[in-house]
Amino acid sequence: MLARILGYFFSEAAVSLRRSWKVSLVAIVIIAMSLFIGGTFLLLTSNLTRVVENWRGDARIVVYLTADKVAREDSQVLQLASEPPWVTAVEEISATEARSRFEATFPSVRELFKDWKEEPLPPSLEIAFEAEGADDGQLDEWLVSLRAHPSVVMVDDDRDWLRQLEALIAILTGLGAVIGLVLLTAAIFTIASVIRLTAYLYRDEIEVMRLVGATELYIRGPFYVEGVVQGLLGGLLAIAALYGGYVVLNPKASTTFLGNVLVDRFLSPEALVFLLVIGSVAGLLGAVLSLRREELGQ
């Protein structure tokens, strides 16, 4: 019984798609366009999020040591620094290394240090840690004990910067979500509009079916299936277009930092499935919305 009805829906939808392929094509292309725009954002934000995640992993606490520290004291500091379970790595940076790093970062001022006899920068320890592992209280306590150590000049806590970065990510994610949602709503609305126009186009046909004794199930089923199929085809088209765009842009983009950040990797399989699902759901939703108002009787 169910198989028969589904068979009916699919064959009716297939016949309709074939006989009115021009109208269907319009619907499919509009769905594809909506999903293409949405997918572009998905591509950009997913790459951006990935980059930001990397930055987050790079966050460090830097402990500057007095230049005249003795080895024993140093290893004491080292132990203090490595103690907490959330610390994942501690790297020792000598004064020489600190200077060469600084010079590498700011090549334009390297000449400033040329004539100095003593090293301009102190040696330091860079501590990598898992931000999730520690609560703020424990971390602060530990920082205080580090700062109190006599051979420590200063502790530079990346967390301030990290917090700002996290706020930025939150804003970006929020903005992305808002833009994505707006675009998705726009896409669904567009699709619904097109399907509503299509249903309007076939309103006489629908009315005849009703008058001849078809139940709503039989009238709407094929339109729903048609909506889903159009959505799926639209999704596939959008993915093809996105991939095309990615292949064309990627080699050019990778020559610049920003481009590299934005279009480094293509969408994950999950994201692709997500696009297809969104397309189908939008197609279905469009069909449901557009047929909702088609009430009995006129």
Partner: protein, 248 residues
Amino acid sequence: MIQFLHVGKSFPGGRSALQDVSFQLERGEFAFLSGASGAGKTTLLKLIYREIEPTSGQILVNGRNVASIPRTKVPFLRRTIGVVFQNFRLISRKTVLENVSYLPRILGMSQQERKRLAYNTLRRVGLAHRMSAFPTELSGGEQQRVTIARALINRPEILIADEPTGNLDPELSWEILRLFLEINGKGTTVLLATHEHQYVRALGGRSLVLERGRLVVDEHVEGHVGDIESKPAEEAEDPIQPSTGDLM
């Protein structure tokens, strides 16, 4: 059984199309509904299969109050009523075969069965050779005959025909009427709206006449059955144009 009890119908604009119409048709009756253009014939028929709802009065079809049937059950009422619409109402994106066999299809009949049934019904109206044509590729009279075939295919309990021969030549018209009589003979109640007074005179039966929305005549007319038998033979040898070969 169709029963109208003081039925009135006014359209949104305030135009009254029917006023205080009461009559009763028994199961298996053959009735003519006539009246001038705009008298309310189509309106009356639409009320029976609930395309529109009355603004006053009650309508009973097979003992059920049509107005009180829940919306989701209306299709089941309609499946028992075959309707020949005045304006045909064919689905232009479906072929003749698909149009005619639409109801059998959703009732679950197999494709082969459906095709056989549609072929037989279309043959009765002389259109078996046009099964795969689309309605826009048909002449006016051919479209009208497809509509008639669609109304008949499911052997309805009630047949409602609104001006079913307006686009047909007299020979074909008589042939269609003979078809209706035959179906009526098998128990189907027939209600036929028409301008052709000659049909009533020839066939006889119940005659309902509307005048500006009021039922002014409700009588039984004696038919001269000889007319039906002689009429077509008089003017054409083979009333139904034979199919030009290309069947199925």
